[in-house]
Structures are given as structure tokens and as C-alpha cells.
């Protein structure tokens, strides 16, 4: 991927920038990097940059109370620090053929929707001074942009999304395993996909990341029709990847289909919960901005605990 200076990207519009500029993406777990007000450091050797003292008021956290100052002066003082950040985030986007699904012309396909999500997340991460890497995959890794924290780097990422076409079949677990070896530095892994693969294999591959102390977030993108079948009387369904076909009456098949979907989604959630992976089911009927805003609000609230 090469960086260009072309302004105006399809997947990051001025309206989106306005909404995103006041948001921030907070690491929930301890990550590599410098100690900061946003991200807690794993390194015991890292030093905070001390800025100033102020007087203690009831309710202040005793953790930042300077006991030495108290011993000398018999008064309580609170230390204040300068913030610093250093999180590395990897954005993985599924461009397999199944992501090309769209219900009607003028609708967003799942791939386009996912591109909007990735663009917004990439912007947030670079804007707050962290580093974002990018990886495209279908049945294997098709492109990789190593992490970077500059705006030209973000432009390269956005350029990579511009003319993205869906690729081949889905093999998420193989792609994840290949991508794992590309990611030298642990950090935050965000996978945006429809995850139409065997859940056991997907999570087995993700375990490689969690074992290496990555924080993993999944955005599972589906269309409403995948949740409950389109409203047609009698259909010949054609698989976007294999071109196999199946004739069925959706109205008759819907209850059993929804049970199968519920079972599959339940399995995806259960696996995520067991591995403390942040799992988010997203349907394309919800505007991507709303998804990002809501997700970040909850994440921000949870990250400030303890």
C-alpha cells in the first residue's frame, strides 16, 4: 500500500470527522508502552512525568497522595501527572465474498459498512496519538500495513479501503494465524468480519493472540436478512462464495433458521466470554456512527473501573 495525498476519502467523511473528534479509544487492559492517563503500562521501569502538586480534597484517590510530603509537612498533597500514550492497534478486515452481500441497490454492503467502521476506528486511534496497523484477509492475508501513528499513515490506510473489492472464500482461522506472525508488538486487535466460519476454529486462532496478552475486540457484521431471512415467498438462494444453490420458502424455514442462527451466535458469544474477548454483534441497519459512539461510551465507562 502506498500513501497518497488525495483529499476526501469515501469511508471517512467530514461529518464523521466532526462526530469522532471528541471521542477516544481506551485500552482496557495493561498494554505495552508508556504509563499514561489512558493506558496503563505493564513495565515497572516506566516513569510518569510529574507535573505539579495540589491540595488534597476529600474524595481524591489516595493512590496519588504524596505520603512523603505529608510526613514532612503534616499536610495532604496530591501529585498531578502529564499524560502520555503508546498503544498499538491492529485492524483486521474481512474482504471475502460473503461480505459483499447487500439487500438492495443503494444499500450498503457488509464490506462497505465494515470499511466505514475500520476508517473511523483508524482515525480515532491515530488522532489520539496511538498507532494503527491494518490487515486485509479472505482465505489468506491479502495485504498488511504495519502500525503507524502519523496522519500520512492514516491516509495510506484510507487509500487501501478506497477501491476495495470483495475477494474469495472465507478462511478466517488460517488468516488470523498468518496475521499473528506479522504482529510483532502486542496491543489491541480489532477484527471486523461476518465470521462465517467454524467458531471453534476462529477462537482457536484468536487464542494465539489472547495468550500473548493482546486485547481482542470482534465486530461481527451481519445483515438483517442473515438474522431472519429476506421476505420473499419462494427463493433460490445462491451462496456468494461457492455458488451453490438451495431452493426454499423463507416463511416456512424462518423459525428453524433463526434457531440455527441463535445457536451459532450463542456459540460465538460463549467462546468470547470464556476468553474475555470483547464481542460485538452489529447489523448493517444500525448506522456505523451510532455503533462506534455507543461502543466507545460503554468501553470508556468500563475502562475507568478500579
Amino acid at each position: 500500500m502506498t500513501a497518497t495525498a488525495t483529499p476526501g476519502w469515501r469511508y471517512l467523511r467530514p461529518g464523521d470527522l466532526k462526530r469522532l473528534r471528541n471521542m477516544e479509544f481506551v485500552a482496557r487492559r495493561v498494554v505495552e508502552g508508556y504509563f499514561s492517563g489512558k493506558h496503563r503500562s505493564a513495565s515497572r521501569d516506566s516513569a510518569q512525568e510529574f507535573a505539579d502538586y495540589r491540595g488534597y480534597v476529600p474524595g481524591d484517590d489516595l493512590r496519588v497522595l504524596d505520603w512523603k510530603a505529608y510526613a514532612r509537612t503534616d499536610r495532604f498533597y496530591i501529585k498531578q501527572f502529564r499524560k502520555d500514550t503508546g498503544m498499538t492497534c491492529y485492524l483486521l478486515l474481512d474482504k471475502s465474498n460473503s461480505m459483499a452481500y447487500l439487500a438492495d441497490r443503494g444499500d450498503l454492503s457488509k464490506l462497505e459498512y465494515a470499511c466505514y467502521l475500520v476508517a473511523a476506528l483508524g482515525f480515532l486511534i491515530v488522532k489520539q496519538g496511538d498507532r494503527a496497523g491494518f490487515c486485509l484477509f479472505d482465505n489468506e492475508v491479502r495485504g498488511y500495513l504495519p502500525p503507524g501513528g502519523t496522519f500520512p499513515h492514516l491516509f495510506a490506510l484510507l487509500n487501501g479501503l478506497e477501491d476495495l473489492k470483495p475477494g474469495r472464500t472465507t478462511r478466517i482461522s488460517a488468516s488470523l494465524r498468518r496475521a499473528f506472525h506479522l504482529m510483532k508488538r502486542r496491543g489491541l486487535l480489532i477484527v471486523v468480519s461476518d465470521f462465517l466460519d467454524e467458531p471453534n476454529e476462529i477462537y482457536s486462532a484468536l487464542s494465539m493472540f489472547t495468550h500473548k496478552k493482546f486485547e481482542v475486540i470482534l465486530f461481527h457484521v451481519l445483515h438483517d436478512h442473515e438474522m431472519s431471512l429476506p421476505q420473499v415467498d419462494h427463493a433460490r438462494f445462491i451462496d456468494l462464495e461457492t455458488r451453490a444453490s438451495l431452493i426454499a420458502e423463507p416463511a416456512l424455514l424462518r423459525p428453524a433458521y433463526q434457531q440455527e442462527m441463535d445457536r451459532y451466535l450463542g456459540l460465538m458469544r460463549a467462546h468470547a466470554r470464556a476468553r474475555r474477548i470483547d464481542y460485538n454483534l452489529v447489523t448493517t441497519s444500525t448506522h456505523y456512527n451510532e455503533v462506534i459512539e455507543r461502543y466507545l461510551w460503554v468501553r470508556h465507562a468500563a475502562a475507568r473501573v478500579r
Binding site: 515497572r44 476529600p58 474524595g59 489516595l62 493512590r63 497522595l65 505520603w67 512523603k68 505529608y70 510526613a71 503534616d74 495532604f76 460473503s98 461480505m99 452481500y101 457488509k110 461476518d194 462465517l196 445483515h223 436478512h225 442473515e226 438474522m227 431472519s228 420473499v232 415467498d233 419462494h234 427463493a235 433460490r236 438462494f237 445462491i238 451462496d239 456468494l240 462464495e241 461457492t242 451453490a244 444453490s245 431452493i247 426454499a248 420458502e249 416456512l252 424455514l253 428453524a256 433458521y257 433463526q258 434457531q259 440455527e260 442462527m261 441463535d262 451466535l265 450463542g266 458469544r269 454483534l281 447489523t283 444500525t286 455507543r294 461510551w297 465507562a301 475507568r304 473501573v305 478500579r306
Partner: protein
């Protein structure tokens, strides 16, 4: 039948074949779920077509037969199977979901109709009984009865409860009832009438029902429900103090086939000034709202955070939009906020004598006499502590007791079970006997994370002191000291510690000496915990009291050991309870623990 009739019968077949539509081409992401659904449905789908064809044939056949006047015998449905006399038990589900109103008639009204129909089909003098199943199961009559009118009245009077149904216990009761002498020699039948909600039935085993009992499951589920419910609410910490962030987790479940957007609102009646995330200023009434996307048959959690600025009791309400089952759309809670943390120091030493560990403990717990101090310490001797209600304390420190009597041991056990934290310094004295007494009084069987032996004096050995070499910084009690500039725990010297045997595998080791001996470890006891400190604040046992880190170390122990959640209530919804005054505090007690209270007492 003549040619005209045959032609008439052939007509539905022709119509059936002609009405099959040409399928519409639909590109779809994957066929895997469609295939699985079809495999599940395939027999039913073919059957449906077949049934449709047969119905059409039947209709025409009846019309044709009407002209030729055939004699038809339709099958007669007999409600009950037995030819002989029966002992019939009906288990009627009265759980919360049976009151669902979304689909017209509630499942309970359908269940009652089924139960009444069953009773009606019983012959005179057959025996029956009805079990009403909720969190506990009650029987209409003490044993199988011939008084069917009484059973009918009981069924008609039954209403839904606000509880889950414990069908495991109900089945046990049902089997016991059918094995009684009055059921001997009779054909035994058990009817379970329920909507078979997953939450009630997930762990139920039906193979406990004996073979000779005929089991019938009657499903009165009204079909697809769109019910969302608040399933749990947790506040952390359970007992907050002024200026501390309180987190409230509200779990919302979605019992429907579609993902739901659920707005969750939280209101807090304060009457005082509070601040909270998103509240935007000082209000006497705080209102927060969050939107949750709850997946089908899944749950999601709304997290509300606030920071009370004044002590007191705050009443809160969590709500989601009302649906066909309103009872589970609201939760009420009480948030108690105190000014600061309270500790008790239980010691038989003189806290004014600077040659004792108690002297330094008190001064480290409360280093300033300022009214703004966030922590207070009250000193009690062992006799005072035995008769005292310890629940007002966030933590109890025990150091140098002459004896630990059984009453004190039980009081401490009760305190820990309800969420209290006890820190025991294993210095000099009859430590082994005292810890053994605590274990014996324990409701859980054991509180001590390890067994201690003799007190070892390190002076004169090697350097003359030992230090801590390992610390569990992930624990909230020690996390502040992960960064050495907040206090370097490894610099503290100890001249005495106890040998350790028999470490309890369920204990959490917090600190270790350089030779691996546990220096401090924690055991969970009910909602609270017990921390055994294999060191002492006595000036001759080490230089702990001389370190600047000693006060924040104790403060962090107290803060970090607090219960995250309130002790579980042992009440069930619908159970009768009453208020009683005990030791100056009002207490909520169940009916079966009633104590008479003299007026004015």
C-alpha cells in the same frame, strides 16, 4: 364412486401442483444455516405439503361421500390413558413468565384451563392433587385427594408469582407424593403444565421420575415472546464512601428472536448533591440513561457510574420500557454511602503504650486527627469485640489477643460471611490456638489460608532479617505499590515470622518472604475475607512501623479487601418478612426466625 367423483378428487392434486411458485433468485452470504435449518425442518416441510394435499383430498372426499352416505367412524380422543383407576398429580407452573400478556391469553390462563380439563376427565373417586410450582412448591392438599372440587377451586384461585420455578425440587416432591401408600395399586400419572422457559428448565433432570409413573408434558407457551428483563443488578463496592466511584452493573436479557435496542434508565433520589458520568451538574435527583443492543436470547450490561459527595442512603430505580411482562422491567435498590472507612482494632494490648504493636497500628490507621480523615479506628479488647456488632466496620484488625473465645470467633465468622474483612497479625502469643478456634467456628469449615507453627527469630541468622520478595500486585490491596515510588515494600525488614505448614489451596497468597514462606494470604469467607499476616507491627518484630509506607499499606489493605458486592439476601420474592430491632439497628428477618420483642425494647 363414479368417474365424476374420481375427477373431483383429482382436482386438488392438480391445483396443488399448479400453485407451486417459480423461485426468486437471491444471492446470499452463506447457505450453511439454511441447510441446517432445512435438515431440521425437512420432514415437517414435506409433511406440511402432504397434509395440505390430504386436507384438500379429504374435503372433496367428504363432499363426495356426503352424496353416497358412507358411515364414518372418527377417532375419539380420550384425554387420559388408563382403563383402571389412577393417581394423578398435576404440577402447575406459577413462575413469572406464566403471566406474560403479550399474546392475548396468558400462559397461566391456558395452563389453568388445561388443568381443569384434566380434572374434569377424571372419574369420581379417582385420586389427584395439584402442585403449584414457583421458587418453592406447595400442594393443594396434604395428600392425593378425591375432593376434585377443592382442587378445582385451588386451581382457579392460583395466580402467577414473581419468582422462577424450581422444577427440580417440584419433581422430587411429585415423585414422593406418588409413592405414598394412598397411591399403591393405582396407575400413576404426572402432568407438568408449563411454558418450559429455559431459565426454569435448564438444569432439570427428568430421569429421576420412576418408570411406572406416566409423565405428560403440557406446553402452554404462547409462542414467540418479545420480553426483555432486568435480570441482575450489582453495585461495586457494596458499601461506598464519599468521593468514591460507585459502579452499577445492570444486566438486561432479551427473550426474543430479534436483537433489541433497549434504553436503560437509572434514577437516584438523592435530595442532596451528587455528580455522575453524564449527569452534567448538581441535582437533587440524578437521571442517567444508556442504550443497549441486546442480542436475541442474549444479554448485555449497562454500566452506570457515579460519585456521591455526601453520606446517606440513596434510593435508586433501574427501568427498561414496560412490555407484556412488566414485573421484570423495574428494579429498586438502596445505595448506602458513608463518610469514610471504619476499622476496629481488636487487641488486648494497651494502645497507649509505645512498646506495643497496637500503639503503632492505631497511629498508622489514623495518621491525622483532622475531621476530614477518610478512615477511623476504634480499639476494642477481645471481650468487647465478642459482644459487639462488627458490621459497622469495613475491616477488623486483630493483634495480640490474650485469648480468642468461641463467642468472638463466631462473631468474626458472622461478620466475614456478611462481607467484612478480618486481618490477623500472627505475632507472639497463642496464635496457633486462636487460628484453630477461628477454623472451628467457621461456617465454611476453614478460614485460615495456611497453618502456622513456631515463631522463628531471624536475628543472629545470616543478615539478621528477611524481606518480602514476591507480591501479588494484581490484588486491589497491593496494586498501588506496583510502582516503587508509591512505597517500596521490599525494603521492609522483619526479624520474626512464623513457620508455615499446610497451605490451603483455595487461598490467595499476597506476599512471600525471600525463602518462599507466605507472608500474607487471603481466604474468601462468604461475602468477605480473612487475611492472615505472617508478620507483626510490634517494634521488636521488624521495622515495618518505621517505614513511610506503613500507613498507606494499611489503608490500601482496608480499601482493597472490601466486599465488591453486597452479601446475598436470603429472602425470596413473596416471602413474608418483618423488621426487628437488634443491637440498635433495624434488621430484616424471615418468618421462621421470628423472635418476640418486648414493647419499647
Amino acid at each position: 364412486m363414479d368417474a365424476g367423483g374420481a375427477a373431483a378428487l383429482a382436482l386438488p392434486v392438480i391445483i396443488h401442483l399448479l400453485t407451486r411458485h417459480t423461485p426468486r433468485r437471491v444471492l446470499f452470504p452463506t447457505l450453511q444455516f439454511l441447510r441446517r435449518a432445512r435438515a431440521r425442518q425437512s420432514r415437517l416441510l414435506r409433511l406440511r405439503h402432504l397434509v395440505l394435499l390430504l386436507l384438500r383430498l379429504l374435503l372433496v372426499g367428504l363432499l363426495v361421500a356426503a352424496f353416497t352416505r358412507p358411515v364414518l367412524k372418527l377417532p375419539f380422543q380420550k384425554a387420559l390413558g388408563a382403563q383402571g383407576r389412577t393417581a394423578t398429580l398435576i404440577a402447575l407452573d406459577l413462575s413469572l413468565s406464566m403471566g406474560y400478556t403479550g399474546a392475548g391469553a396468558t400462559p397461566l390462563s391456558r395452563a389453568k384451563a388445561e388443568a381443569l380439563r384434566l380434572l374434569q376427565s377424571l372419574r369420581d373417586r379417582e385420586r389427584a392433587n395439584v402442585l403449584f410450582v414457583a421458587a418453592s412448591t406447595t400442594a393443594a392438599t396434604p395428600q392425593l385427594s378425591r375432593d376434585l372440587n377443592l382442587l378445582r377451586e385451588e386451581i382457579e384461585a392460583a395466580g402467577p408469582t414473581m419468582q422462577e420455578a424450581d422444577f427440580g425440587a417440584a419433581l422430587g416432591q411429585a415423585v414422593e407424593a406418588l409413592e405414598r401408600p394412598e397411591a399403591q395399586g393405582l396407575e400413576k400419572e404426572l402432568y407438568i403444565i408449563s411454558d418450559f422457559q429455559r431459565t426454569n428448565w435448564a438444569g432439570v433432570q427428568l430421569d429421576g421420575v420412576p418408570r411406572e409413573v406416566n409423565l405428560f408434558l403440557v406446553d402452554v407457551d404462547t409462542g414467540e415472546k418479545r420480553n426483555t428483563a432486568i435480570t441482575s443488578v450489582r453495585t461495586r463496592p457494596a458499601a461506598a464512601r464519599v468521593g468514591e466511584t460507585v459502579e452499577m452493573d445492570c444486566e438486561v436479557a432479551n427473550y426474543s428472536l430479534q436483537a433489541q435496542q433497549v434504553p436503560v434508565s437509572f434514577e437516584l433520589e438523592t435530595g442532596r448533591q451528587t455528580s455522575g458520568a453524564g449527569a452534567g451538574g448538581r441535582e437533587s435527583r440524578l437521571r442517567l440513561e444508556q442504550q443497549l443492543l441486546v442480542p436475541a436470547y442474549g444479554s448485555a450490561t449497562a454500566i452506570f457510574r457515579l460519585r456521591p459527595q455526601l453520606p446517606g442512603d440513596y434510593e435508586g430505580t433501574l427501568r427498561i420500557p414496560a412490555d407484556a411482562l412488566k414485573a421484570d422491567n423495574v428494579r429498586y435498590l438502596n445505595l448506602r454511602v458513608r463518610k469514610g472507612l471504619v476499622t476496629y482494632l481488636v487487641t488486648d494490648e494497651n494502645p497507649e503504650d509505645d512498646a506495643t504493636g497496637a500503639f503503632y497500628l492505631v497511629r498508622a490507621l489514623v495518621p491525622s486527627r483532622s475531621k476530614e480523615a477518610g478512615l477511623t479506628a476504634k480499639v476494642l479488647n477481645s471481650k468487647q469485640a465478642a459482644g459487639r456488632d462488627l458490621r459497622a466496620a469495613d475491616a477488623v484488625f486483630i493483634s495480640n489477643l490474650d485469648r480468642l473465645e468461641e463467642t468472638l470467633a463466631r462473631n468474626l465468622d458472622d461478620y466475614m460471611m456478611r462481607g467484612g474483612a478480618v486481618f490477623y497479625f500472627a505475632g507472639a502469643g497463642e496464635v496457633e490456638d486462636q487460628l484453630s478456634a477461628l477454623d472451628q467456628a467457621s461456617s465454611t469449615g476453614r478460614v485460615t489460608p495456611f497453618t502456622v507453627g513456631e515463631l522463628l527469630e531471624v536475628r543472629g541468622l545470616g543478615r539478621g532479617f528477611v524481606t518480602w520478595r514476591e507480591a501479588r500486585f494484581e490484588s486491589p490491596m497491593l496494586s498501588l505499590f506496583r510502582e516503587p515510588e508509591h512505597g517500596d515494600l521490599s525494603k521492609i525488614r522483619f526479624y520474626k515470622f512464623r513457620l508455615v505448614t499446610d497451605a490451603y489451596r483455595r487461598a490467595e497468597t499476597l506476599l512471600r518472604y525471600e525463602d518462599g514462606t507466605p507472608a500474607a494470604a487471603r481466604t474468601r469467607v462468604g461475602a468477605g475475607s480473612f487475611v492472615l499476616c505472617n508478620f507483626s507491627p510490634h517494634p521488636l518484630a521488624g521495622d515495618l512501623i518505621k517505614h513511610e509506607v506503613f500507613p498507606p499499606f494499611l489503608h490500601e489493605l482496608v480499601k482493597g479487601a472490601r466486599a465488591e458486592e453486597a452479601a446475598p439476601q436470603d429472602f425470596l420474592v413473596g416471602q413474608i418478612a418483618f423488621f426487628a430491632r437488634s443491637r440498635g439497628d433495624w434488621e430484616l428477618t424471615r418468618m421462621d426466625k421470628w423472635k418476640w420483642i418486648t414493647a419499647g425494647g
